[in-house]
C-alpha cells in the first residue's frame, strides 16, 4: 500500500502553482506545506470543513482549478457535501481524499480507531451515488498521478479516494513553517486578489466595495 508522503510528493510535482489547494488539518497540511511551499495554499481546514471550503472557492472562481486535499475522517463529518458538489456542478473542483481508514493514525505509531471506511463504507461508491460521475479509487503512485492529471485537464467535479497506509511511517523533515490561520488568510487572499482580479480584503476606511 502507498504512503501519504509518496502521494503528496507526487502531487507537489504535478500541480501547477495557479491551482488552489485547500488542505485538511493534520498531516495533509503538514506534509503539503513542507513539500509545496506556494502562495495558493489554504491550510488547516478542520472537522469537515475542507471540501465545503474548496467547493465555495470553486463556485466563486469558476475559471480556477481547486483541489480539496481532504481525509476520510474529516470528509465523513460533512459527507453531504458530495451531494452539494454534484448538484452545484462544480466542474473545476477535485476532491482528493487521503483515506487511511482510521482516526489519528497520522500521529501515532499504531493505527487509531477505525473510521467508517475502515469498515464497510466505500467512498468512491458514495461519491458516485451522490452524483459525481468521475469517481476513482487509487492505490499506487502511477495511477494517482494519471488520475490527478486527468482531473486537472478535464471538467469535473472529480473525486479521487487514495487508499493510503494506516499510519504515516515516512514523513518529510520539519524545515518549513506552516503559516497560522490568520497569516495564511492574508497571504492566500492577497494571492487570489492579485491573480484573479477580485477584491477580498477591506481597506478599513469604508472603501471595501
Amino acid at each position: 500500500m502507498v504512503s501519504r508522503l509518496a502521494l503528496i510528493k507526487e502531487l507537489a510535482s504535478i500541480v501547477p502553482e495557479d491551482v488552489l489547494v485547500v488542505s485538511s488539518i493534520g498531516n495533509n497540511s503538514a506534509f503539503w506545506g513542507e513539500l509545496a511551499e506556494r502562495e495558493s495554499n489554504l491550510f488547516h481546514a478542520t472537522l469537515g470543513m475542507c471540501s465545503p471550503a474548496a467547493l465555495g472557492l470553486a463556485l466563486a472562481l469558476p475559471k480556477r482549478k481547486v483541489i480539496a486535499l481532504d481525509a476520510d475522517g474529516n470528509l465523513i463529518l460533512n459527507l453531504g457535501v458530495l451531494g452539494t458538489v454534484a448538484n452545484e456542478n462544480a466542474t473545476n473542483l477535485i476532491i482528493l481524499v487521503m483515506d487511511n481508514r482510521n482516526y489519528l493514525g497520522s500521529h501515532k505509531k499504531a493505527p487509531g480507531m477505525p473510521t467508517a471506511t475502515g469498515g464497510k463504507m466505500k467512498l468512491q461508491e458514495v461519491a458516485k451515488g451522490c452524483g459525481i460521475a468521475s469517481s476513482h479509487t487509487i492505490q499506487d503512485v502511477a495511477t494517482f498521478r494519471e488520475t490527478v492529471q486527468m482531473g486537472l485537464k478535464n471538467d469535473g467535479p472529480h473525486f479521487i479516494c487514495a487508499q493510503i497506509e494506516a499510519i504515516d511511517t515516512d514523513r518529510p523533515g520539519k524545515n518549513k513553517r506552516i503559516p497560522d490561520p490568520r497569516e495564511n488568510k492574508y497571504q492566500f487572499a492577497k494571492y487570489i486578489e492579485r491573480t484573479s482580479g477580485v477584491q477580498i480584503l477591506g481597506g478599513g476606511l469604508g472603501n471595501f466595495g
Binding site: G48, P52, T84, S196, G202
Partner: protein, 165 residues
C-alpha cells in the same frame, strides 16, 4: 411568513452587496430561501447541514464573494464549531441572518432557542443586532455586513417575530 417581509430581507442583502448565500431551508424563513434560489444576482447554495454552509461561505469569501449564511436558530447550533473557528481563529467575515424562533412572544415550544441563540453568539464572540421592526430590516442587514467586512468578523442579524410574521 409574508412575501413582502421576505422581500425586505432579500432587499437588505442586495443593499449590502451580498452576492452569495448558503444554508438549509427553514420553515419560518422559507419564502426568503425561495426568493434567493430564484434570484439571478445572488447565488444560493443549498447544503446538507449548516456546518457545511459555513465551510462553503468561508471558501466563497476567499474567492471574492460577499457571502451570507441563512441559518435557523436550530441550524446555528449545528454550525457552531465552524462559525466559532472561522470567527475567532481565521477571522473571516460572514454575515449570519437568523429568523429568531424562541424569542419572547413566540407562542410555539421554541424557548430552547432563547437560551442558545444570543448566549451562543456571545460565546463565539459574534456581535449581533436583533431587529423587531420590518422598517429596520434593510438598513440593519446593510450595516452589519459593512462592519463584518471591515472588521473581518462574523456578525449576525436576528429577525424576530415582530419583524417577520
Amino acid at each position: 411568513m409574508k412575501p413582502e417581509k421576505a422581500k425586505l430581507v432579500v432587499d437588505g442583502l442586495k443593499e449590502a452587496g451580498v452576492d452569495f448565500t448558503a444554508g438549509v431551508p427553514d420553515a419560518q424563513f422559507i419564502e426568503v430561501y425561495k426568493m434567493l434560489d430564484a434570484d439571478p444576482d445572488i447565488r444560493y447554495v443549498g447544503t446538507a447541514n449548516e456546518a457545511e454552509a459555513v465551510g462553503v461561505g468561508f471558501g466563497a469569501w476567499f474567492g471574492g464573494k460577499k457571502p451570507a449564511l441563512m441559518l435557523a436558530t436550530s441550524g446555528l447550533l449545528v454550525a457552531t464549531y465552524h462559525l466559532a473557528r472561522i470567527n475567532i481563529l481565521h477571522e473571516v467575515p460572514l454575515l449570519v441572518v437568523i429568523p429568531y424562533r424562541g424569542d419572547i412572544g413566540d407562542p410555539r415550544w421554541m424557548g430552547l432557542y432563547k437560551k442558545t441563540t444570543e448566549p451562543g453568539l456571545n460565546a463565539m464572540d459574534i456581535p449581533y443586532r436583533v431587529v423587531s421592526r420590518p422598517g429596520d430590516i434593510v438598513r440593519t442587514i446593510k450595516e452589519c455586513n459593512e462592519s463584518a467586512r471591515a472588521w473581518l468578523r462574523c456578525i449576525a442579524v436576528i429577525l424576530n417575530e415582530e419583524a417577520l410574521w
